[in-house]
């Protein structure tokens, strides 16, 4: 059984938001909401025009292996689907917003057209046919590599073996599955990594993720 994740070559991101529109087309995401299923986090620094900088962190739901949004859901609407995808069953959602509070990544929002909390689904239903999410497929500079962590031959595992990476808010302990590939350019790395970010290698990271995923798998539903 697959365990889906995304690796992000975030140093390629130009904040063009093609991913956001592709996601809306593919998934019928509500327009006019404060938040989207997918976004580019922007951090601005520097004091003057000469030294100002913008860092872009393309992001979406981390589909954490130990997702607090699922644990906290009182009706079971938030659940793990096949492939370890964290989803919401809209019928079962009562919009108590507990999951929105619990999510460290602010990946969830209320979709008024669905009368439910909504979030990224890793394009479940699409990936079965295309093998990629809409956001990965459309990206101009190919920031995203979507794939199966359990497939040693997958593009994502190959990338993770090749490169150092970090995850966001690692200390929350949720085992997130968006892997940010560390740039090799030292200066740019320094500018975008910030304080307290730990870089990892896949061989060291893999056992922890594999064990946690195995433990969770009995909870994974068909959809």
């Amino acid at each position: 059984m697959a365990n889906y994740a995304i690796a992000l070559e975030y140093q390629n991101c130009i904040d063009c938001r093609a991913c956001e529109v592709a996601c809306k087309d593919e998934n019928g995401v509500m327009l006019g909401a404060d938040k989207q299923r997918i976004w580019v986090g922007i951090v601005e620094g520097g004091e003057t025009l000469a030294d100002v900088f913008l860092n872009f962190y393309p992001s979406q739901c981390n589909h954490c292996i130990d997702a607090p949004c699922v644990t906290v859901c009182p009706t079971g609407a938030s659940h793990f689907a096949e492939g370890g995808i964290v989803k919401v069953d809209y019928d079962m959602c009562i919009i108590c917003k507990g999951c929105m509070e619990a999510c460290p990544y602010e990946a969830r929002f209320v979709d008024e057209t669905r009368h439910a909390v909504d979030k990224c689904t890793f394009c479940d239903g699409r990936i079965q046919e295309y093998g990629t999410t809409a956001c990965s497929a459309t990206c101009p500079t190919k920031v995203r590599t979507f794939g199966d962590l359990e497939d040693e031959d997958s593009d994502i595992v190959k990338l993770l073996k090749e490169r150092e990476f970090f995850v966001l808010k690692e200390n929350e302990g949720t085992l997130p599955k968006l892997f940010y590939l560390a740039p090799e350019d030292v200066e740019f790395r320094k500018r975008t990594l910030g304080e307290g970010i730990t870089l990892h290698k896949w061989d060291e990271f893999k056992p922890k993720y594999e064990a946690a995923a195995q433990a969770k798998k009995p909870e994974w539903k068909k959809a």
Binding site: Q11, N12, C13, I14, D15, C16, R17, A18, E20, V21, A22, K24, D25, G28, V29, M30, L31, G32, D34, K35, I42, E44, T48, L49, A50, V52, F53, L54, N55, F56, G76, H79, V88, D89, Y90, D91, M92, D111, E112, T113, G125, I127, Q128, E129, Y130, G131, A137, T138, C139, P140, T141, K142, S154, D155, P183, E184, D185, K221, K222, A223
Partner: protein, 885 residues
């Protein structure tokens, strides 16, 4: 806090993208029988939809790049566009606008049927009519105008935006016989294009895949996306193969991902470029082995250039001199020159001082672009891998028609006709200058309406057809454009939206959205991957809309006999033919549908045998050859038939089939398809194909049968002209001092053509962002969901001084007295003497429910300033006073 982050926090639009596109999600019961049934149903439904959908290759119509997509049609509606991996030019990607193409088709305010104006111009009051009524209205007006103007075909002008259909529209213009055609050229890339063309004969493109050093001067490629430039560039930054240095007046997304950002004072790029040439020459950076050989082989005028920069006018353009003007330290200028020079030598021309597309900034643009072209050539980077490639495309025919008659009474184009001989601006005779055209027409038409005597060679331009162009929202001096249309007797707008220009139309004809039509194929001479692309209709046209092809064909059929009759009447030479043509004679009555003269009918009506004989003689093959006046003959082939025929003829049946099936053809593509990489149904990479992101680049290289260096056009001899003797000595008027100046053979900095803001003014610069192609899709719900206001960028310290915070309203007044109001975005990302607005917003069309009045209209605040060398817009020569409201 970023302006963009704020933009997400609004809810002006409720409804989902999917619903708006007509697809509802699985409707579910509130009391599902079992848990997770809803989630399961939704997933299954998506899988089923994808499996059962119809997939059609198309290319994008949202901007001029025309990237290749596969359209997914579910029950008659387009629900998704995915990039086409075989369409290698676009590197298997779709930008925000590309993805938002769906919203163009399902725009709630889309034009649904033909309309005729009932209110005042600009008021937005129209009545719905049938196509026949609309055509008849146009016919009557055209006949009246051309009859009164005695067959001066140029009395009706044509304007078009760029796109795959442009040849179909241009064919109609040629058929009517007007010399007045204006397109976006002079509000877009005229300065860069003309300068490069004069210096090395063609435009070419940037070979970023192989570039080692890239110097970008204000070309914001992260937000003004150009394929494949943008895609190739940002995968090489941060020390992954190329150093990218970006110079601009503000910190853009390009600056964010460049390796180095250098702020510059607006209007001074020419000074920077001249200093870089000066430093190159005076340090002998061009005398290295590779460059010496390159220059001796390919360049003319090196001696003049060297003399100019060592002992002539150019010798004063030192880095120190430029530093005072540009505010870039002299050491930085020297360093980037040396870095560029070193990369160019080491990698044999694989460095690129990038040419912008939209280069209509300042009065001295032409000189700046000339200097830039010289700089690229001086370092051996022209027609070299990694530099500027003068690439070539695959052979393909254009949809055009060559057998139209020549109309002797058609006068020369109006923007050129009134210029004194030998005096600049050097206007492209095919495309003209929008502002000079507009200002001339407004002036002449106003005089003509008052009955005043017109200057020699002048004539009123009384009608205009506009296809997919929105000059009221794009050409600086909005009010003048509105007034110009107001002086006309017939304004026809062919578009998909009731945009600002359509508000001034007498007749609006609704075109189809590009997803609904098949277009004439197009040869893309892109870089290393020349290819032929094709757009096939992926859905049926909605409402009463028609593809441009049908509109042009039907309109031609409607007007052709009457227009032929007018020429017949005004070319009739009684002296030569020996008989007067009766005043009420109308040849149209006697023309058959095949454009033969119905002699029987003619003889029945006209008893004078001599006159009948003369009529037949004048209409005959040796004279007018009236059969050539059948305009609709140009539209004999539908785009589908045209595409099929051209492909079969040039590349064979199999190639025609591939183009039909996959929307793209290049020699060897059949092998790529046979290799089993492409899913036959979805027409994208098969799901289990590994390394797709790399494959995008390898596909063409691996399977194409063209020689690898096909993209490098073989040039014989010295094709580069460093010194332009052919234009030296021409006169032009300094737009600031009004004095006569002389064009020199080498670029020159003129202090008298550079202005600074004074008396509490700031300079206004206009530019792009990633979400709108200028004013092309003001009402697109998917794009407005990304950005629904163009906040005025203002330096944070200046904002503090003015006492304005984010979203506070200010009034801008330019030197020509025009005012606009808009909300500000204070930021340290822009200079204190400069403010910025993004294009594409601030529409004043009341027929837009989503995009009305949402910001600053660039055309309203940009001053009507014209580049004196080539007649292009100088949009950033706008100085405004800011007042808090």
């Amino acid at each position: 806090m970023s302006e963009i982050i704020d933009l997400k926090r609004r809810s002006f639009l409720k409804g989902s993208a999917g619903v708006a596109a007509g697809v509802s999600l699985a409707s579910t019961s509130a009391f599902a029988l079992s848990p997770y049934e809803d989630a399961e149903n939704a997933k299954m439904k998506k899988e089923e939809e994808i499996k059962n959908a119809k997939y059609t290759p198309t290319f994008c119509g949202m901007c001029v790049n025309m990237c290749g997509f596969i359209a997914r049609n579910v029950n008659g509606k387009i629900t998704k566009l995915d990039p086409n991996p075989l369409f290698t030019k676009s590197r298997n990607f779709a930008c925000a606008r590309g993805n938002a193409g769906i919203a163009a088709a399902y725009d709630p305010d889309r034009l649904k049927g033909p309309m005729i104006r009932v209110g005042k111009r600009g008021e937005g009051k129209f009545k719905e009519v049938t196509w026949e009524e609309a055509y008849e209205y146009i016919r009557e007006k055209m006949v009246k105008i051309l009859d009164e103007e005695k067959d001066n075909r140029s009395a009706i002008a044509f304007g078009a935006g760029a796109g795959a259909e442009e040849p179909l529209f241009a064919t109609f213009k040629d058929g009517v016989g007007s010399n007045n055609f204006v397109d976006h050229f002079t509000t877009c890339f005229a300065p860069a294009f003309i300068a490069n063309k004069l210096i090395y004969g063609s435009w070419g493109s940037a070979d970023f895949e192989k570039s080692k050093y890239v110097l970008m001067l204000g070309a914001n490629r992260a937000e003004a996306i150009v394929t494949p430039d943008t895609l190739d560039l940002f995968r090489k930054t941060h020390k992954r193969g190329a150093k990218v240095v970006y110079v601009d007046v503000r910190y853009t997304n390009t600056a964010a991902q460049a390796d180095e950002f250098i702020p510059i004072k607006p209007g001074t790029d020419l000074a920077l470029m001249l200093a870089m040439i000066n430093h190159t020459i005076n340090s002998g950076l061009h005398k290295t082995p590779y460059k010496s050989e390159y220059l001796s082989k390919y360049a003319n005028g090196l001696e003049e250039l060297e003399a100019y920069f060592t002992t002539g006018e150019g010798s004063k353009y030192t880095p120190e001199w430029a530093s005072k003007i540009t505010e870039i330290p002299a050491d930085t200028i020297r360093r980037i020159t040396e870095e560029f020079a070193e990369a160019a030598e080491k990698y044999q021309g694989a460095a690129n001082c990038y040419r912008s597309r939209k280069s209509t900034w300042y009065f001295q643009d032409f000189e700046f672009r000339r200097a830039q072209a010289i700089f690229n050539a001086l370092h051996g980077c022209v027609n070299r891998p990694g530099g500027v490639l003068l690439n070539r495309g695959l052979k393909a025919e254009k949809y055009e028609y060559e057998d139209f008659p020549i109309y002797d009474n058609a006068k020369p184009r109006i923007d050129l006709a009134l210029l004194p001989k030998g005096e600049y601006p050097l206007i492209n005779p095919g495309k003209g200058s929008w502002q000079i055209f507009r200002n001339t027409v407004l002036d002449i038409n106003t005089k003509w309406k008052k009955g005043e005597k017109l200057p020699e060679n002048a004539y009123p331009v009384r009608g205009m057809f506009i296809y997919r162009e929105n000059p009221i929202q794009s050409v600086p001096g909005r009010e003048k454009t509105e007034k110009m249309f107001d002086t006309m007797d017939l304004v026809v707008v062919i578009d998909i939206l009731p945009n600002d220009t359509a508000m001034y139309a007498d007749v609006i004809l609704p075109d189809t959205v590009y997803l609904e039509r098949t277009s004439p194929l197009k040869s893309f001479g892109t870089l290393r991957e020349p290819m032929i692309g094709c757009r096939w209709a992926a859905a049926k046209p909605l409402y009463k809309t028609k593809p441009l092809y049908n509109i042009m064909k039907e309109l031609s059929e409607k007007v052709e006999k009457d227009l032929a009759a007018i020429t017949f009447k005004y070319t009739w030479d009684a002296d030569e033919l020996g008989v007067e043509l009766p005043k009420d004679f109308n040849l149209a009555k006697y023309l058959t549908d095949d454009f033969e003269i119905d002699e029987e009918k003619l003889k029945a009506d006209i008893k004078d045998e001599e006159l009948v004989k003369a009529i037949l003689e004048w209409a005959g093959e040796d004279n007018l050859d009236i059969s050539t006046f059948k305009l609709s003959a140009a539209y004999e082939k539908t785009p589908e038939e045209f595409n099929e025929e051209v492909m079969e003829e040039l590349y064979g049946k199999k190639a025609a089939e591939i183009l039909k099936e996959y929307g793209v053809y290049w020699p060897g593509i059949e092998k790529a398809i046979e290799a089993g990489l492409i899913d036959e149904h979805l027409k994208v990479f098969k799901k289990d194909v590994p390394n797709k992101n790399v494959l995008i680049y390898e596909l063409y290289k691996k399977y194409c049968t063209l020689p690898e260096d096909y993209c490098i056009v073989p040039k014989k001899g010295k094709f580069i002209k460093l010194s332009l003797k052919n234009i030296a000595g021409k006169k032009f008027k300094n737009p600031i001092t009004g004095e006569s100046e002389t064009v020199t053979d080498l670029p020159k900095w003129r202090n008298s053509m550079f202005e600074e803001p004074k008396n509490n003014e700031v300079r206004l610069v206009i530019g792009r962002h990633g979400y709108f192609t200028q004013s092309s899709h003001p009402n697109n719900y998917l794009l407005l969901d990304l950005m629904n206001y163009n906040y005025i960028w203002i330096n944070d310290e200046l904002a503090l001084e003015l006492g304005v915070k984010f979203k506070d309203e200010v009034e801008l007044t330019n030197r020509q007295g025009y005012k606009v109001r808009g909300k500000v975005y204070p930021t340290k990302r822009i200079r204190k003497d400069t403010i910025f607005i993004a294009t594409g917003l601030g529409s004043q069309s009341k027929l837009f429910t989503l995009g009305y009045d949402n910001g600053v209209s660039q055309a309203q605040i940009a001053e009507d300033r014209i580049d004196p060398f080539i007649g292009a817009s100088s949009m950033n020569e706008t100085f405004v006073k800011i007042r808090k409201v």
